[in-house]
Amino acid sequence: MVNTSVTLCGLPMDNPIIPASGTFGFGYEFADWYDINLLGTFSFKGTTREPRYGNPTPRIAETASGMLNSVGLQNPGVHAVIAEELPRLKKVFHKPVMANVSGFSEEDYVYTCQLLDKEPQVGWLEVNISCPNVHNGGMSFGTLPESAMAITKAVKAVTTKPVIMKLSPNVTDIASIAKACEEGGADGISLINTLMGMRLDLKKRKPLLANVTGGMSGPAVFPVALRMVWQVYNAVSIPIVGLGGVSSAEDVIEMMLAGATAVQVGAANLVDPYACKTILEDLPRVMEQLKIDSLSEIIGGAH
């Protein structure tokens, strides 16, 4: 019998599999497909202080082995998330959930995190300082060590639960940003958010996305994500949540060997609603093939 359990920032998880924010809604959509309590946890849709419609459509484009999205943080706002989404989730999911938070100012982050920190259903706060699809905010916090540290400190000052900072890959030096978050008191780092890309409509001679650029995800970005997890593992001593193109049990193990304590699965959920379930079913067999008894023992094992 193989052991898939891991501990992320002090909280035990049955397995390291976490559907990524923005690909799993508030969970109950996927409960129509399978029992989502099989998962380690999931990270819910990026939540902001105020409700957001997001960007105009089209918001989706295809790429080679991947996709672009420019959803732009559509969400009902933190108050509706607490009043409506969490109670609905409670009926179908009985584990601590990862609360994903975005903002446009330090105060936004503080406000939203403070509220979600008090919710008993929330196990971790994942603070997204890396959304490429919103102007004046989001990603800009994640591209400078100073602002990354400032947001981390501000959120840590008002919360009690583990704070995981979610980083952008669209930077020159990912390790310096991760280190700044660690110095600011972060309990963990998750990476990567999407790579900024775009596509054109050749007939219309215009960008395919109404927002012009979007975030690229899917297997295409996996090698970049793996490289950054590797670099951040060398730079910090807090746990890392690895994500970016993960689509199979083998990818999960590759991410963990590079340094991830837990692994998020994003775009794969969108092209196959059973993606995470399949990964969980495949994991024991792949672990046995690779002579892995316990997943927690391989974290960073390729260094």
Binding site: G25, T57, I60, Q74, L270, P273
Partner: protein, 243 residues
């Protein structure tokens, strides 16, 4: 909603670059007109959503136009090939609002979903009028199939090479109907909205990520808040639509 494997039974080019694809598989979740399936195509990351044209137990008919390299690959598939589908997606049309003599209006790629709808309404004993809009005579398909259901069929073509010259709205003038259902390109839907005399239902298209409500890629604003075309739609009622 289901994920399952279908087997290709036949594929025919019924109009230039327009293919009728008949698949065998599990159709349990496919009974509602206006719903769609989402097809995985080898070598392409995102699935291709295609509306259901007809369904009988164990047999699914889809009609699609080749618009890019993904549908091009689909069009080259042959008898016996397997396809992985997500089925039972979307809300579908509400048939209870039809009244005695509903009007169905399909334009181009919006014609196929009208067929299952017409069949169900005909089975319910409704007197049907169907308007099918195309660019030109060569593109016309399924006229006889709709007639075989007992529907009164009006064809329109932009160039006048078949039926009434002009748009579907030209054929709507002077018609008497209890309710309407429509599917087609955005500008056509807007024109139908402006020309229609009764309440009705509209099926929309949008670029989708997942097709089952997870990614909120295909959101639109309605008078009652944001709706996902793939899950809360693709059918919206006239009254809630914001253009």
């Amino acid at each position: 909603m289901k994920k399952s494997i279908f087997t290709l039974r036949s594929q025919n080019e019924i109009a230039p670059r327009t293919f009728e694809l008949v698949l065998n598989g599990d159709t349990d979740d496919l009974d509602k007109p206006g719903q769609f399936v989402n097809i995985r195509i080898q070598g392409y990351y995102l699935r291709r959503p295609i509306s259901v044209c007809n369904v009988t137990p164990g047999r699914l008919t889809l009609i699609y136009k080749v618009v890019g390299s993904g549908t091009e690959v689909l069009s080259r598939m042959t008898v016996g090939d397997e396809l992985e589908l997500l089925t039972g997606l979307g809300n579908g049309y509400d048939l209870t609002a039809a009244g005695d003599c509903p009007l169905l209006i399909g334009g181009g790629a919006g014609v196929p979903p009208m067929y299952l709808l017409a069949r169900k309404l005909a089975e319910a004993g409704k007197r049907l009028t169907v308007i099918l809009g195309f660019n030109t005579a060569a593109e016309v398909f399924y006229e006889d199939k709709f007639k075989a259901l007992g529907a009164k069929v009006l064809i329109t073509t932009v160039d006048g090479s078949a039926g009434i010259k002009g748009f579907v709205t030209n054929a709507m003038e002077g018609l008497d109907y209890s309710y309407f259902y429509t599917c087609g390109p955005g500008p056509m839907l807007k024109a139908v909205y402006d020309s229609s005399a009764t309440e009705g239902q509209f099926s929309f298209e949008e670029r989708m990520g997942c097709g089952f409500g997870a990614c909120v890629g295909c959101t639109c604003e309605t008078k009652y808040g944001n709706k996902r075309i793939c899950r809360d739609g693709p059918v919206l009622v006239k009254e809630e639509i914001k253009w």
